[in-house]
């Protein structure tokens, strides 16, 4: 029976049903769900590309794919999985969960949130337009010039790639800024920095890394576009440029980016394991600080991707030292999880917990091989071979996709209001775990046998044909496992039983809302007294109902003492239209028509003007 306050809040925060609100919504829950579904579609596309690659590499010398097709497939596989699948998915999950976990009703900038999603969708379509016109990006996900320069890759393949990434960086940066301001200013009263949930710490550091890592990538892509289309020579050695400038700029973004992928996963595992061990995490300050330190050191290791480029060895040692020391925070987190499991009660082997355990096993293998790459001579021995392919799949697929599955299963009841099937969940876990290891562990051996990376075929006398066949079989098993997860999700959406508000008996605030949460989230802004509110405080109600209008409570940064309530904007179509404006600008840049670019830029500026006309509130 909804109380008068809840009805009033539903009136303020509710949206009229029907298609129009689909395009004008700023509700972080709807945008979060949308991000996740779109990212999973790109996961499917990336998976199909991987399946083609495994089909081609199953036997030596097979001709299923031409070299052009293979180059396009592996370039788009890398670009899709990193830029269009895992980062947007974790952004969407954070959009959905962070406001609820910190006890507020929406993100700091709801319209900017919608805008970020539309730009991401536009950039994804922009990047995949390559396949439609038969000129998909073919320079690899790190696109080293001069191979991707004007001379050796004259088609629009790499223009699609670099313009697409500049376009996408608008979404990533806007999303990250939105997340940081939400976490800084909108936490429930009492939630000081020492009481923030570890998932919120992880997303806070990830968002900071996005803000600091995207500019080097954007600047590098601007230089590549100028080199390719305006005849500048930043990367042309004959005219004073240097191909290593690109590598420095790209990897200054590249390595923080792999931690941008890894840290949300750490946040999810640090939330799942304590719930199913029925006790708070061991060493909360160490785990929170470890997340921050991983984020900081990640910006000082990028040259370990360039150990074989002949830089002076004295310079390499700084980055070797940082690459080794960065494993200490990760080690602290692994042992904190282990200690939580050991000291916790008998664990409940639910699907999220299984994926979290699978993550620990796989990530430790990936982590220890990662430490080896920090040793310069070993890296110079095996980089750019299949050993590195095995390593980064263990830390990216194992280190981020396993926790993603854990997170999706863990919050499935909260997001959809339905319960998934545990048996299907367990089956999909064991298939994915087995398929993953059979696919990627042999790649360690292929690398040690000297099989180079990114080859569309290999000679039979290298001794790797049996391993490649095994790896392709493993990929099939992995695909079945992932298909099972999809079946489980669809079946539960249609016929799953209703989920309660807190099915796992978890501790964080999002479980205090209904499943799925109402438009306004919390009937009254909770007041927090500790790190595990639902475990420590049975009733969370307060008199901060804020029913004056559409507003949320601003609080101070370190101790979350309440400040003024902040007015929130209504839904609007402007974010979508402005995103279309940006899309028009980038398409006209791609086709190279200056008048179209000018017109669309003016149009976009006009739309931004319309949007910012009421920024900061209008008196009266």
């Amino acid at each position: 029976m909804a109380t008068a306050t809840e009805e009033r809040l539903e009136e303020i925060w509710g949206e009229e049903p029907g298609p129009v609100s689909w395009f004008t919504t700023g509700d972080h829950k709807r945008i979060g769900r949308r991000y996740i579904v779109t990212a999973l579609v790109f996961f499917l596309l990336g998976g199909i590309e991987a399946a083609f690659m495994r089909w081609q590499l199953a036997q030596p010398g097979s001709t299923h794919l031409t070299p052009e097709q293979y180059d396009e497939l592996f370039s788009m596989h890398g670009t899709t999985m990193i830029f269009l699948f895992i980062t947007p998915l974790f952004t969407g999950l954070a959009n959905y969960l962070v406001p609820l976990m910190i006890g507020t009703r929406d993100m700091a900038f709801p319209r900017l949130n919608a805008f970020s999603y539309w730009i991401f969708l536009g950039a994804g379509i922009f990047l995949y337009a390559g396949f439609v016109v038969g000129a998909a990006p073919n320079g690899g996900w790190f696109a080293y010039p001069p191979l991707t320069g004007p001379i050796f890759d004259p088609g629009i393949n790499m223009d699609i790639w670099s313009l697409g990434l500049i376009f996408l960086s608008i979404s990533t940066t806007a999303g990250a800024i939105n997340l940081i301001v939400t976490i800084l200013k909108l936490r429930a009263p009492g939630m000081s920095l020492a009481r923030m949930p570890l998932y919120v710490w992880a997303m806070f550091v990830t968002a900071w890394m996005m803000v600091l890592a995207m500019p080097p990538l954007t600047y590098a892509n601007v230089l590549l576009q100028l080199d390719r289309n305006l005849g500048t020579n930043f990367f042309d050695p004959t005219a004073g440029g240097d191909p290593l400038l690109w590598q420095h700029l790209f990897w200054l973004f590249g390595h923080p980016d792999v931690y941008i992928i890894f840290l949300p996963a750490v946040g999810i595992v640090s939330t799942v394991i304590p719930t199913f061990s029925r006790r708070p995490i061991v060493g909360y300050p160490y785990v929170a600080l470890a997340t921050v330190l991983t984020g900081i050191i990640a910006f000082g290791v990028w040259v370990h991707h360039m150990f074989a480029t002949g830089l002076p060895s004295l310079g390499l040692t700084f980055f070797a030292a940082a690459s080794m020391i960065i494993t200490i925070p990760s080690g602290v987190q692994v042992f904190a999880w282990l200690a939580t499991i050991v000291r916790g009660r008998r664990p409940a082997f639910t699907t999220p917990f299984l994926f979290a355990i699978g993550f620990i096993v796989v990530f430790v293998i990936g982590g220890v091989t990662g430490v080896m790459f920090a040793s310069v001579p070993f890296d110079q021995g095996v980089t750019d071979s299949y050993f590195v392919v095995a390593h980064f799949h263990y830390v990216l697929f194992g280190g981020a996709v396993f926790p993603m599955f854990a997170g999706l299963h863990y919050w499935f009841p909260k997001i959809t209001g339905r319960t998934y099937s545990e048996t299907l969940g367990r089956w999909s876990f064991w298939l994915i775990f087995a398929g993953f290891n059979v696919t990627f562990f042999p790649m360690h051996i292929m690398g040690l046998l000297g099989m180079p990376r990114r080859v569309y075929t290999y000679s039979p006398d290298l001794g790797v044909e049996g391993l490649n066949l095994l790896s392709s079989v493993g990929a099939a098993v992995l695909t079945i496992g992932i298909a099972l997860v999809a079946i489980n999700a669809i079946k539960s959406l249609i016929a799953g039983s209703k989920a309660t508000a807190n099915p796992w008996g978890a501790a964080t605030l999002e479980w205090a809302t209904t499943s799925p949460p109402a438009h306004y989230g919390f009937a009254s802004i909770p007041i927090v007294h500790g790190r595990d509110p639902l475990w420590e405080q049975p009733d969370l109600g307060s008199d901060l109902t804020l029913t004056h209008g559409r507003e949320i409570l601003g609080t101070t940064i370190t101790d979350a003492d309440p400040e003024e309530p902040l007015p929130m904007p209504e839904g609007s179509v402007l974010p979508l239209v402005t995103a279309l404006g940006f899309a028009a600008v980038f398409v006209s840049l791609l086709v190279g028509s200056v008048p179209a670019a000018l017109v669309s830029t003016l149009l976009t500026l006009g739309l931004i003007g319309a949007w910012t006309w009421t920024l900061g509130g209008v008196p009266g």
Partner: protein
């Protein structure tokens, strides 16, 4: 427990923090630009390459005085609107726009009169790219403050409601400070 209903300003407003973080991202962008200039500079035996004269210090100096100087009327305008004096705000913004346009015209003149283009070599590429990147940001800042000017005529700002002006002014000051770094790297470092 009641909470007062006054417009959150400065570090208590989410908009201000949004702009501050956007400036952090932009600072990283310009930091990368300056770092890549220095990277290529120290790889080249002679810099600027033979046959290219050093950037003109006089013109650069005037441009710097104009742009950094334009922060003063903006500060004056900010203090004005805090006291509710909308007229003073409008005058301050107008002056700073004029100064910024003067700065841009000097840049335009330097582009036209340069004896090299962005095609000649890495030095030319760097010179034109970094300067036009900053030029675009000056244009952006001009658009933002003229939008504030327009909104002030629509009666959006008074003593209690002007967080947008603070946010816009913050971006203006950022664009000036970044120019100091660019000026010292592009104009002064070739001389050491």
């Amino acid at each position: 427990m009641s909470v007062a209903r006054v417009e959150p300003r400065g570090a208590r407003s989410t908009g201000w923090w949004g702009m501050a973080l956007f400036i952090v991202a932009e600072l990283t962008l310009f930091g990368t630009a300056v770092a890549s200039y220095l990277f290529l500079r120290f790889r080249a035996p002679t810099w600027p390459p033979p046959g290219v004269e050093d950037p003109d210090l006089v013109l650069g100096g005037i441009a710097t005085v104009l742009l950094v100087g334009s922060s003063i009327p903006i500060l004056w305008a900010e203090r004005g609107i805090e006291r509710g004096d909308v007229r003073r705000m409008r005058i301050g913004i107008a002056i700073s726009i004029v100064l910024a346009l003067a700065f841009l015209s000097i840049q335009g003149y330097e582009y036209a009169s340069a004896s090299f283009s962005w095609r000649t070599d890495a030095y030319g590429s760097l010179f034109f790219t970094i300067l036009s990147l900053h030029g675009l940001h000056v244009i952006g800042a001009i658009l933002i403050v003229s939008w504030l000017e327009a909104r002030s005529f629509a009666g959006h700002f008074d003593g209690d409601h002007h967080v947008a002006v603070q946010t816009g002014a913050l971006y203006w000051h950022f664009v000036d400070i970044v120019w100091l770094a660019i000026f010292s790297v592009l104009y002064l470092s070739p001389r050491i």
